[in-house]
Symmetry: C2
């Protein structure tokens, strides 16, 4: 009995989910849904259907978990609550500041429908969040630091692409080396957002576009760029393709904390990722958590969940006995 998966949206993330499903024998891809013309998509799984997203509801009995692969800016705030009325869903909503309202909308829809909706799944939010939670509970007297990069942020690249006059864009997040060293030394420095990272954006603009306006719109974009020192480069489509076609990323979550009757001992907990492909790693996280969502739903749970709510064992195809014998 396999876990039957649907994918909504066949961009980088959707293709990553398709690839990840192949590595998990207990999971099967049943359908890819798109808002484009289904005939225009070529997928890699001969046994799966390609359908327009309007046909998704008709597949409700053939899919256990629908994975939503749209963007956080405009797609997911609509899609996740809408599809949580029909399916168990997982999304990778990553606008941190808007998570509480997204949670509330998905929770209401999923509870009404008797479904489970897991939001903000991936590596940040996702695995980084989990590491912040665990380390913070272990070392309540301490300091949290998250560093990203060097790597391409899909969310930020996507946001720039939505600016008028922009054909294509790639945004690199770069950690500031001195800040990283100060943190790892256990000095517990107080760092502003600006002191921790810089942002570098490569833009292909339309012929005759107002580049000064585009640059200004990027640098002042709320939540995305306004708190960072950002450098913008305008390049040709050819250069974009040649030098910026990969989607590497990574980063680290560090917590330093003190223990002892007099806080005399210092500890450094660090979780780091070095990723050749950000969307494929994110997709791989999502597929593991889709297994957990399937199990929660089988147990009769409903409503919106986050990575904080799922027992780690639910992510694994192995039994509790196997896990204890091999991994504990």
């Amino acid at each position: 009995m396999t876990i039957r998966i649907g994918i909504l949206g066949y961009g980088n993330l959707g293709r990553g989910v398709e690839a990840a499903v192949r590595q998990n024998p207990d999971v099967e891809l049943k359908a890819v849904f798109t808002r484009r013309d289904p005939a225009s998509l070529t997928i890699q799984t001969p046994t799966a259907k390609v359908l327009h997203q309007d046909q998704a509801a008709g597949m409700r009995d053939e899919i256990d978990v629908l994975i939503l692969c749209g963007g956080s800016a405009t797609d997911l705030p609509q899609q996740t609550p809408a599809f949580a009325s029909i399916f168990n869903v997982v999304d990778s909503f990553d606008t941190h500041a808007r998570i509480p309202e997204h949670f509330a909308a998905v929770d209401a829809a999923a509870k009404k429908a008797g479904k489970v909706g897991l939001i903000s799944c991936g590596w940040d939010p996702g695995m980084f969040s989990l590491n912040r939670l665990y380390a913070g509970c272990i070392l309540p007297q301490g300091q949290d630091y998250t560093f990203w990069g060097k790597g391409v942020s899909q969310g930020h690249s996507d946001a720039v692409r939505r600016i008028e006059g922009v054909i294509d864009a790639r945004q690199y997040t770069i950690p500031v080396e001195q800040a990283l060293e100060a943190v790892r030394s256990g000095k517990a420095p107080d760092l502003t957002t600006r002191e921790k990272h810089t942002r570098e954006v490569f833009v292909v603009a339309e012929e005759g576009a107002d580049k000064a306006r585009i640059e200004r719109e990027i640098k002042t974009m709320k939540n995305y760029f306004d708190q960072y020192d950002t450098t913008v480069h305008f390049i040709s489509e050819e250069e974009m393709k040649r030098n910026h076609s990969g989607l590497p990323h990574g980063g680290r979550v560090i917590r330093t904390g003190q223990t002892g009757f007099n806080a005399e001992h210092t500890h450094v907990v660090e979780y780091s990722l070095k990723l050749d492909s950000n969307p494929e790693f994110t997709s791989s996280v999502i597929v593991a958590f889709a297994r957990a969502v399937y199990r929660l739903h089988k147990e009769g749970q409903t409503g919106c969940k986050t990575v904080f709510d799922l027992p780690p064992a639910y992510l694994s195809p192995k039994s509790g006995e196997e896990l204890r014998a091999s991994l504990l």
Copy 2:
């Protein structure tokens, strides 16, 4: 309403639990139980009782979770099942090979008594196990590596101390640098136990003890030393005190894995700890998980659990809403 804690065994780990409880306002130390003369113990918490362990059962209604701070070699296999018949318990049983039988014994006792018993809690087993589980579920096509040290292993030091003629001992686990570099490069090397770590032991022997026999007993000790290259140094009590009184430790769990339709992308996931005090960090992990055990029991769950079974949110004093807003 605080979570009321008891400590059984007031060695390094027990004192660490006492210190950790102070950092968690929702947790309170009610009693320390010892097999020594209670009058011989001086604890740091004026509001807590010091009692003989035979008096523990009489405190069953005043303690929510009893934390067992004995050793894995001989104490915990007896103590954890015995006390799981009376209390919710947490232990840090760390003999990996014997976890399945320990689980079975604690599970039977805890289920019969309607209690929850969490075993093998700490950093390894514990946080390292969790990181092996998460990374393995995310990257099913990959390789796991665990490196320890450089640091003092309490379990191994304790095992050496039980050898006849040994007054005191300190065992350092040391990762082999070339092995670590090969793993982090993504080369996925196949490493034997012996290639990954060396062990170094400092021993204070009794006057006139047979040092050759002690060294032989150490180097051939099953599960603890027989698979490693071990160096043994005999030193004076004074040198032990001067140079080896701290209990630093650390280590890292690394998983490298491949994703993509043709396994074309490589990822490196690394969790690392750098600890000034191994017992205080272990104790801090245990206290966070004791909170989770308390909640599971309140929900009506019973039986033996491991870190794999507990939803991460249960470790935190914060509400789901606070966690989503601040850490996700």
